[in-house]
């Protein structure tokens, strides 16, 4: 393994500072005692974290975000697993077109998706509903789930399945006892990536959320547009700290680079 020179390490240090600076600043402001934005500060206080409890709309948005992410990524994975198996092992007419369609939400700007859903939901009477949020989030997160399940499905040795069938297992038993366990790493990491993408989604959701059903990032965004105070810092810092924990767990389980490069660790 070749080593980096001092110049490379200096560049690396600056790069890391650039990446971490805004994140650290958010956390630092969250712990300030003053009632206005003040850095550098003299004190240390948790008052802004306590203040979150006086804003039930943030807590409600957080709860709704968790439900939305859990439901939409679960439904998305339920749709993605059979679709991935179809794409990975059959050569059929329109296979490439279908794959491109399923991955298209990665290419369509989320602003455009938000506008399209706003128009669509207002026409069919779903605007501002939680169901509308779930439907739209299924679309946005499905490509992430599909890519990871697909990567896992390509790696399966189909002879194992043939063996199960020749031993008398029907196709459902084969799927449940042989195929599913084999693609499980892809299914789990696909679900996790889908969950995170749903939880963080703001651009599309801001178009279709209503004041009564909204997500935490949207609530935070709308609040920041009006004023920036230590309260939004403490909400953001809580988000960052939670994400950091999830991040470390994910890195241990799957490896972050693999998760993002779209191939499951098996």
């Amino acid at each position: 393994m070749s080593r980096n020179g001092p110049l490379a390490l200096a560049f690396h240090a600056i790069f890391v500072v650039f990446i971490l600076a805004p994140i650290v600043v958010v956390c630092a402001v969250a712990f300030t005692p003053e009632s206005y934005l003040s850095l550098p500060t003299k004190g240390f206080s948790l008052r802004w974290f306590k203040a979150i409890w006086n804003y039930p709309e943030f807590l409600r948005a957080f709860r709704d975000s968790l439900w939305l992410a859990a439901l939409s990524s679960t439904i998305a994975i339920g749709l993605a697993v059979p679709a991935a198996l179809a794409i990975a092992r059959y050569r059929f007419l329109g296979r490439e077109a279908i794959t491109a369609l399923f991955l298209s939400p990665l290419m369509i700007p989320h602003v455009v998706l938000g506008i399209a859903f706003l128009r669509f939901f207002s026409q069919i009477g779903l605007s501002g509903s939680f169901l509308g949020l779930i439907l739209s989030h299924i679309i946005v997160v499905l490509p992430f789930a599909l890519r990871l399940v697909l990567a896992a499905s390509y790696g399966i040795d189909q002879r194992i399945e043939h063996a199960a069938i020749s031993l008398g297992a029907n196709s459902f038993v084969t799927f449940r006892r042989v195929t599913l366990p084999l693609i499980m790493p892809g299914v789990v990491s696909g679900w996790v990536l889908a969950f995170i993408n749903s939880f963080d989604e703001v651009t599309m959701t801001v178009f279709i959320a209503s004041p009564s059903t909204t997500t935490l990032p949207v609530r935070l965004f709308l609040y920041i547009q009006d004023n920036i105070d230590p309260l939004v810092s403490s909400v953001s810092a809580s988000l960052i700290l939670m994400t950091a924990v999830v991040m470390i767990v994910l890195d241990r389980l799957f490896g972050l680079d693999r998760l993002f490069l779209g191939s499951a660790k098996s």
């Binding site: 990446i19 279908i98 455009v112 399209a116 669509f120 739209s136 799927f175 920036i228 890195d251």
Partner: protein
């Protein structure tokens, strides 16, 4: 599963296909149609065919300026992401596995953090009382307090921060496909480190750089939350313009036309450059 090979793929992908036809194609078609509807301040949306929204967006200087700014910001963000992301990926790749693991978490991890939280950090750093302004004043680099809020420079810095991990990821993937023996061969033949990098490494990772650039450019050109927070209402880009038309002005047909332009332009750029990369560097992908 040895079901009927004709019917099985249809049954397996059928549910997802139905969902996508109903929830992607239908809404997009409806939005495309909406962009040809008429709109008036008092009459609202009227289902009468007109090209006036398209005409307005394509001819009016106001929209020209905003689309031009969006393009300029996206190009700068992509350029800076290449300039800092490529060396960083190279450095990460040369680290020992333990350190690489740690710094991958630092560099790629922020992708998991909400864009709103990350952009808030820049909003706190910018501004006349922000740390950047204070530091520049204290160091004597500027006389006036520097305020990067509501400036294009500010949007570019914050967007680069949000998007550069994608560049690092793309280049890292290309670097990991490299055969380090070739690098060692060049060095053993007496090439200095920089020559090895320029003549051996760089040509092989260009496809990674290009695909990273496409991702960063597409995301920068359609970015919403970051330009909305840092740029505010004063510095509109295409995405925030569409948002204003939909949720403030309520001129949905005009907003739909803006969205369609953004969609068509981006898909043309993404598909076009992917084709180009694949054709030009076909051998690298094999």
């Amino acid at each position: 599963m040895t079901a009927n090979p004709k019917l099985a793929p249809l049954l397996l992908s059928g549910p997802a296909l139905l969902v996508f036809i109903g929830l992607v194609i239908a809404p997009l078609v409806m939005t495309a149609l909406l962009s040809f509807y008429d709109w008036g301040q008092y009459k609202g949306i009227v289902a009468e065919f007109t090209v006036k929204n398209w005409h307005e967006v394509l001819v009016d200087d106001y929209y020209y300026e905003i689309f031009g700014r969006t393009l300029r910001i996206a190009l700068f963000v992509t350029l800076i992401a290449v300039l800092i992301g490529v060396p960083e990926a190279y450095i990460l790749n040369r680290m020992t596995p333990r350190w690489r693991g740690v710094f991958l978490l630092v560099v790629i991890g922020p992708l998991l953090i909400s864009v709103v939280a990350r952009t808030l950090g820049w909003a706190l750093l910018f501004g006349s009382t922000g740390l950047i302004g204070q530091a520049l004043l204290t160091l004597g680099l500027t006389r006036e307090p520097v305020d990067l809020m509501f400036t294009e420079t500010g949007v570019i810095i914050a967007l680069t921060h949000v998007l550069v991990p994608f560049m690092v990821l793309a280049v890292l993937a290309a670097l990991q496909r490299l055969n380090s023996d070739v690098e060692n061969a060049a060095m053993s033949l007496g090439a200095p480190a920089f020559t090895v990098w320029r003549r051996v490494v760089l040509p092989q990772i260009i496809p990674g750089v290009l695909s990273g650039s496409v991702i960063v450019f597409a995301l920068a050109a359609s970015a919403f939350a970051t330009p909305a927070i840092i740029g505010g209402r004063r510095l509109k880009v295409a995405a925030t313009l569409a948002y204003d038309e939909f949720l403030n002005t309520l001129n949905w047909p005009l907003g739909a036309a803006i969205a369609m332009i953004l969609l068509v332009a981006l898909i043309a750029i993404i598909v076009g450059s992917n084709r180009l990369i694949e054709r030009r560097y076909a051998q690298v992908f094999e």
